[in-house]
């Protein structure tokens, strides 16, 4: 594994303007992530933690204003390429007390710049699959046409017949039964699981360097979920593909990823190898521990027959509190660190090689 990450996200901030509340929703608030070649990075967190928006922002797919505010996304394929290059010039930010108060964005030219930066990357080098595959596939075209389009756009195969053959090959690769029949089906004629397989086939047909899977199993039946996870696992190993997997389902994440990033309130709270982050008995961020304790597993059920929930409210991403984002809900906060937890936001402290935790409990002495 080479030392330079395939994808590096630095200080990414994506804010949305809420007209109702006249304030910014800080969906992504300074995210740093690295995706190494060949690895699968799992991004986990509650709904609204900004995990999907992070990757959508990196891919220039956030269209609502103001959207992506600042950040740097470097894609190191053959030559390093900043996917958000030149966007600073199109966003004007007014800060007060170190906080972003106002964002003026030249949306049309911003959009143009994004399209320019990502041409040749989106779909070709980085493919995406989404949750809700039936909605995410074009309802007016057959799945075969949509896969063949991907083939013709991104590979050297150009004739309709070749693209069709290749599309059938990919339908076979994602183990759809009777690909020739399915080729001519529209998304509405397929089940959720089959649609997701078709979606995966479409993403892989471009033969990308990296696959971003945004909640690929959410909304599918439990048995289908397991099969899609198996399929992704198998394809990833066979194709040696780099993958970013976004899910709130720790089970899915633990099956597929080598490394995990835990997000909360638009920030990465903890990163590390999967086994270490998910080990309940090891050291870790209090948020991750609480998240693990609330996953539905037999050993987590309390004496009253309930699952322990994380106390308190999900973080208000409009009025982000001072200090650690999680301190109000933290059960491990103690008098020794309380003052710091409430006042200053911790950095990601490196507690072991490749393992970082954003918590004052792990601050170097």
């Amino acid at each position: 594994m080479s030392a330079t990450p395939l994808l590096r996200i630095e200080d990414l901030r994506t804010y949305f303007y809420s007209r109702v509340k006249h304030a910014f929703v800080r969906s992504v608030d300074g995210v740093d992530l690295e995706v190494m070649r060949g690895e699968t990075l799992g991004i986990v967190g509650e709904s609204g933690s900004g995990k999907s928006v992070t990757m959508l922002s990196a891919m220039g797919l956030v269209t609502a204003a103001p959207g992506v505010v600042t950040g740097k996304v470097t894609f190191n394929d053959e030559v390093p390429q900043d996917l958000l290059q030149g966007l600073e010039a199109r966003v004007e930010i007014e800060r007060r007390d170190g906080r972003i108060m106002r964002v003026a964005k030249d949306n049309p030219s911003w959009q143009k710049q994004v399209e320019r930066n990502l041409a040749g990357v989106r779909g070709r080098k980085i493919s995406m699959i989404f949750q809700n595959p039936k909605m995410a596939l074009n309802p007016f075209e057959t799945v075969g046409q949509q896969i063949a389009e991907s083939v013709r756009l991104h590979t050297k195969l150009n004739s309709a017949a070749e693209a069709r053959e290749k599309a059938l090959y990919w339908l076979d690769q994602v183990r759809i039964d009777s690909p020739r029949l399915r080729y001519d089906n529209h998304p509405f004629g397929l089940s959720g699981g089959m649609s997701q397989r078709a979606m995966i086939a479409m993403a892989l047909a471009a033969e990308p360097r990296m696959l971003i899977a945004d909640e690929p199993t959410t909304g599918l039946d439990a048995t289908i979920q397991a099969r899609i996870v198996d399929l992704l696992d198998d394809l990833k190993n066979r194709l040696g593909m780099t993958m970013v997997l976004i899910s709130h389902d720790i089970g899915v994440i633990s099956r597929l990823s080598n490394r995990i990033a835990v997000m909360y309130g638009g920030r990465v709270m903890e990163t590390g190898p999967t086994a270490q982050v998910l080990d309940e008995h090891a050291e870790g961020h209090p948020y991750t521990r609480a998240l693990l304790a609330s996953t539905p597993r037999p050993e987590n059920v309390t004496a009253t027959g309930r699952l322990p929930a994380i106390e308190g409210e999900v973080l208000d991403t409009i009025n982000v509190p001072c200090g650690c984002r999680f301190h109000a809900r933290c059960h491990r906060i103690n008098d020794a660190v309380r003052a710091r937890c409430e006042a200053v936001e911790p950095e990601l402290f490196e507690i072991a090689p490749g393992r970082r935790i954003r918590c004052w409990l792990y601050a170097p002495q």
């Binding site: 891919m59 797919l61 269209t63 204003a65 949306n107 049309p108 990502l118 041409a119 040749g120 990357v121 989106r122 779909g123 070709r124 493919s127 995406m128 989404f130 809700n132 909605m135 995410a136 596939l137 074009n138 309802p139 007016f140 075209e141 057959t142 389009e149 991907s150 756009l153 991104h154 529209h186 509405f188 004629g189 979606m199 479409m202 993403a203 471009a206």
Partner: protein, 320 residues
Amino acid sequence: MRRSSWKAIASVLSQELVTTAALLLGVSLVVFLILYLAPGDPFAALLGGRNLSGAERDAAFDALGIPRTWYGQYLAWVGHVLQGDFGISMRSGQPVARELFSSGMNTLFLTVGSLIVTLGVAVPIAAYAAVQPASLRARAGILLVYLVSALPTFWLGYMLIYFFTRKLGLFPILSGSDETQEYSWLFALLPVVLLGLGNGALSEIVRYLREEISRVMSEEYVRTARAKGASVWRHAYKEALLLPVSQIIAAKMPFVLGGAIIVEQVFNWPGLGRIAWQAAQDRDYPVIMAITLLAALVVRLGSFMHRAVYVAVNPRASQQ
């Protein structure tokens, strides 16, 4: 296009034919009854206003082969129409079919042309405003559209005539009356533009299209198209353009025909609208009946076109 689409269009066409036949029968009956019950007697008009006694009248009817009862007369008319005979205009003495054909072509040119103008203006503005809602150009475009739509057609029409014929002297005032003027062919475009811009529907169409386009643009499958590096419009045009535009054409057909009457008056345009206007004033019964039928048919044609586009585009509709 897929074979299933053609099949679906054929099935829509057959349904549409049945409905249209029933509708035409209904429309003609209603109009016939209204004309029958309206004051004034076409027979007396034919005789130059001379009133006949009941017995004389019956004898004259029998001699001319006209049924005495209203339903008899109606059925006789239907019988003739089914043989392609729409009767003879009471005003001009010409066969109605021939008279309507030439003016019908004029109106067709006017209405189809005006629809093209309307859509040619509305689609780009709506698409731009949907994609770049906050931009100054989009706002200016929308404002302009509202302004133009708010102007009454007849006023705008007279202003255009005044400007082009009196100020610039480009066109003759009466169409076809002066062949020597160089730009007289351009005169034909003036009413087309007027009906296209000033029929009041423009702003409504722009608003509807803009909403449809921006709705479709935020659909998940359009995001997928972007994520896979494909053209957004290639994926979005069916739902964002084809369906709403055909819907607009179907819905606006009656209003465009109605607007044509006014524009034809203003421009002295020898179309159906003017003939209809004159026929209504002269009580030219055969012409009124034929024009009503034609208008109903055109409106049905619009709705057929919309349904055909719908089933052709929508795989779900064509497979049910």
